[in-house]
């Protein structure tokens, strides 16, 4: 079997990664290297002077057409996926999409238009349409929306921290790693099926704003996955162990560090053990939630309800509204959880999938408290939302949560990375935290997640559940799900682990808006204990 160190060496030596993209910039003379081999070209974001001029022309055209503010955003999105099952490759695909979206703000209303035609004529035409749409919307009704101030940052760049650009590693290398791990899983007796894959994204984004910022940024995301299925010999039951590795905003090195033979052996063993596991006894249990599971509970029950547009009814027809409303009634008063519960919003962490240099309207990355000492203190905001709550928060600037999932989508408020901060008093280890539980269930990995449209009633399950007795994990249980009401659940938080248990999970495809847009976001948290949670038995 290939050792990871050898593999890294091999991967680094391969220069044959093939992508479709990069060509527009290369044609314009910006980057060296063949369009088919951009791995040989630049690895950092740079401001392309030709593209900058085109975008500034678009901004200028929107302003001339009557906008009080405008931005133009060019994006080239590359996506590559390699999928395998058992001993063979199921699919290899790569896509590239590029274009420019222009947004105009006229008399309190937004207009947006996008074009794949990246010439000056093409983007200027889009800019004029954006201004016309904004005027038409403003004519219907004055919204009274005001933009919070933002500084001019001039020409700036930001590149996601990474060691290996995922597009510099060949599909052959990726497939071989996956097939190798599949073989490791299949060697475990009882494992019948394995599917695995890795999806890689790279986005080159250049934003020009009428507020005086031109930001060129490069983002990366990797999404490795594996699902292992064990089937009983008489086919009376089957069990799957999936969601084994979190997606990340780091480079391909993250895949190499996490898709290892040692880890795969553990996942395969869990799949087989679950087949023989006893079914859980329904009732009230203490829960010990590993960060690989807890991150999604945070995402669903704290992330979404703190979206300000949602709380004010702007998502009512789709995702719903929020129990954290109206802002005047909950800001600085609503108790989310115990005094040692602190939630931060941030777009600054290395490897965070929502991490940036500047957001999609030129606001710099920052971190800020959202739940402090257990009290809800702030929402997620964009420039046009700050005014709605500044009276209660004292904030006059955006938290930088503007994001569009592509060049043809209008940017709007999306979730930043949101983290539950670890225990600052004691660096409690996993074992220390388990020791605080006499009779409980320990859950690892995200599985089934469902929550109502105001984010009160949720029911979640994990990939693996262990019974905890006398402070120790004892046996694997099956058919475990827990159901709770958000404020009750968070107020039952009893113990949190220290910084050494902190771990970052996340979602590559968080949906919001109509037409739907996808956001990628990370959530870090320590291992945590919740007392007396309602556990169901989902077996039939």
């Amino acid at each position: 079997m290939m050792k990871r160190r050898d593999f890294v060496k091999t991967a680094a030596a391969v220069t044959g990664g093939l992508v479709l993209g990069g060509h527009v910039l290369e044609v314009r003379g910006l980057a060296a290297g063949s369009p088919l081999h951009p791995a040989l070209a630049r690895s950092e974001a740079v401001v392309d002077p030709v593209l900058r001029e085109i975008l500034l022309e678009a901004v200028e055209a929107a302003m001339s057409a009557g906008a009080g503010y405008a931005d133009a955003r060019a994006e080239l999105l590359l996506r590559q996926s390699v999928r395998t099952r058992e001993d063979h490759v199921e699919g290899v695909s790569e896509s590239a999409s590029e274009g420019v979206g222009v947004r105009a703000f006229v008399d309190g209303s937004w207009g947006f238009a996008a074009t794949p035609d990246m010439t000056t004529d093409g983007v200027v035409r889009a800019a004029r349409i954006a201004a016309e749409v904004a005027k038409a919307n403003a004519a219907v009704e004055r919204s009274g929306v005001r933009l919070a101030p933002v500084d001019a940052y001039g020409e700036v760049t930001w590149t996601a921290p990474h060691e290996i650009d995922p597009f510099s590693v060949s599909v052959e290398e990726k497939a071989n790693l996956l097939l190798e791990m599949n073989q490791v899983a299949l060697r475990r007796e009882g494992v019948r099926f394995v599917s695995s894959g890795v999806t890689c994204y790279r986005t080159d984004k250049t934003l020009a704003t009428s507020a005086g910022t031109v930001a060129a940024q490069r983002f990366m995301r990797v999404g490795p996955y594996m699902s292992i299925t064990a089937v009983a010999p008489d086919r009376s039951r089957f069990q799957q162990r999936g969601a084994v590795v979190e997606p990340s905003g780091y480079g391909y090195e993250y895949v190499l560090e996490n898709m290892t033979p040692e880890a795969t052996e553990v996942w395969a063993d869990e799949a087989v053990q679950m087949l023989r596991a006893d079914s859980v006894e329904a009732g009230s249990w203490d829960l010990v939630l590993h960060p690989s599971h807890l991150w999604l509970t945070i995402h669903e029950s704290i992330g979404h309800p703190t979206e300000l547009d949602r709380a004010l009814g702007y998502e009512a027809n789709y995702a719903g509204t929020s129990f954290l409303a109206p802002p005047s009634a909950v800001l600085n008063t609503f108790r989310y959880g115990p005094e040692f519960m602190h939630i931060e919003g941030e777009r600054t962490s290395a490897g965070g999938m929502a991490s940036i240099g500047w957001d999609d309207e030129g606001v710099p990355a920052q971190s800020w408290p959202m739940v402090e000492d257990g009290i809800f203190v702030d929402y997620q905001t964009t420039r046009d939302q700050v005014d709605w709550i500044s009276e209660y928060t004292g904030r006059t600037r955006s938290h930088g949560c503007s994001y569009a999932s592509g060049w043809d989508d209008i940017q709007f408020q999306r979730m930043p990375n949101m983290n539950l901060l670890p225990n600052q008093d004691e660096d409690l280890s996993d074992d220390d935290v388990l020791a605080a539980v006499d009779r409980g269930i320990y859950l690892e990995g995200r599985n089934s997640y469902s929550i109502d449209q105001q984010r009160y009633n949720f029911q979640f399950s994990g990939q693996v559940a262990w019974e905890v007795r006398g402070g120790k994990k004892t046996r694997i249980l099956r058919d475990v799900a827990y159901q709770a009401r958000t404020p009750d659940f968070w107020n039952s938080l009893a113990v949190i682990g220290g910084p050494s248990t902190y771990y970052v999970g996340g979602s590559l495809n968080d949906g919001k808006g109509q037409p739907g847009q996808s956001n990628a976001v990370s959530h870090g948290c320590p291992i945590s204990v919740f007392r007396g949670v309602n556990v169901l038995n989902t077996g039939r």
């Binding site: 044609v27 063979h88 199921e90 699919g91 790569e94 947006f112 027809n317 009633n457 159901q483 037409p515």
Partner: protein, 445 residues
Amino acid sequence: MARTRRIDDLLSEAEAKELADRVLAMSPADETDVSVGSGWTGNTRSAVNRITTAGEVTNTSVSVTARFGRREASTSTNRLDEEGLRTAAEAAADLARLAPENPELMPLLGTQAYAPSDGFHEATANLGPAERGRIAADAITAAAADGDLTAAGFLTAGASASAIANSAGMFAYHRSTSVDYELTVRTADGTGSGWAGVAHRDRAALDIPSMHARAVRRAIDSRNPTGLEPGDYPVVFTAHAVSDIVGLLAGSLGARSADEGRSAFSAEGEGTKVGQKLLDEKFQLASDPAGLGSSTWQGDGMPLGQEVWFRAGVLEQLSYDRYWADRHGVRPTGGPGSLRMGGGDASLEDLVRGLDRGLFVTRLWYIRSIDPRTILYTGLTRDGVFWVENGEIVRPVNNFRWNDSPLTAFASIEALGRPERVSSSREVPPARLSSFQFSTVSEAV
């Protein structure tokens, strides 16, 4: 501004063929598949009684799949000039050369015969921003008429033309339109919420004023719900709620997972449950792509026809892709898309009149799998749940979380109503079920 005839943005059959042939000629691979998609979508979104966003997007993209023996890879691009297309074709070939072999690849299909399918309607293709804006304004007016209601809606209309071609001579083209409109109306005090939705390929088939009226009525009627304990209740589900449950069943119909012993339709020991009566005899489910204006081919060019999945509650067959069908010596069916569920003549109101004591459910929400072995799912109700007694809606009640499976829900059918379009490519009836399992209360409105 946007053209009024968006049909001009779609590739004609001749244009699509010319584009596909040009890409095929550029491909350095031994064998090549090309797919071309072009289309526009326009949308208008409203919330808090205002139009909040409106957009028009036109895009064309090309995908190329290159093969060398059993090595295969795909690329796609929206850059359609000579260099963009050539880059896509060459990169697909370069990726395919590096891809490990896939022993499950089936040979390319040659020329095929396809059933005609007309899914294109001018009335939808001409549904521009001005008319969409008027419809949104009408909804806001209908809500405002009551004084304390707020409307949030989303109307999207689109037209698309797609084509596939390969180096073995296969070519197929299909053009269709679709329109989908939904409206949520909430009471200002936050205690009531109503929803209604309509969809079709043909905008002329939509009755929008009565859809607005339904959402408004459900909002008003749902105000100040009273508490009801969770439990098993008889229910009347709207067609939209039924459609959600149908989707869960359709997603479990793969023959391969059943043969592999990891499906609700695997028989213990060996074999599958095909031929067994699993659901109520009133349950019928079929795919009907031509009847619903969908394309009558799938991505690899395989023709798609009518396929019956359940007849009189009996599982008639499972779905086979070409590889699995070939291995088992059966006819490939393609996946269970463009679904029609059979029904009767009753209206939704008739179904309520037949309910002694139970719940009327407008809409289901946030449905997630719990156990694929039993097709057990969890989800919630939303935007209007009402207690019914002696055939009359008597009061609004709280929302619920539910835990249930199509295998039990559709085994308990009491009556089915008239099928209606719930999306451009699906038609299902509203239903009265003798039991559905509501597990906990949701205080969300």
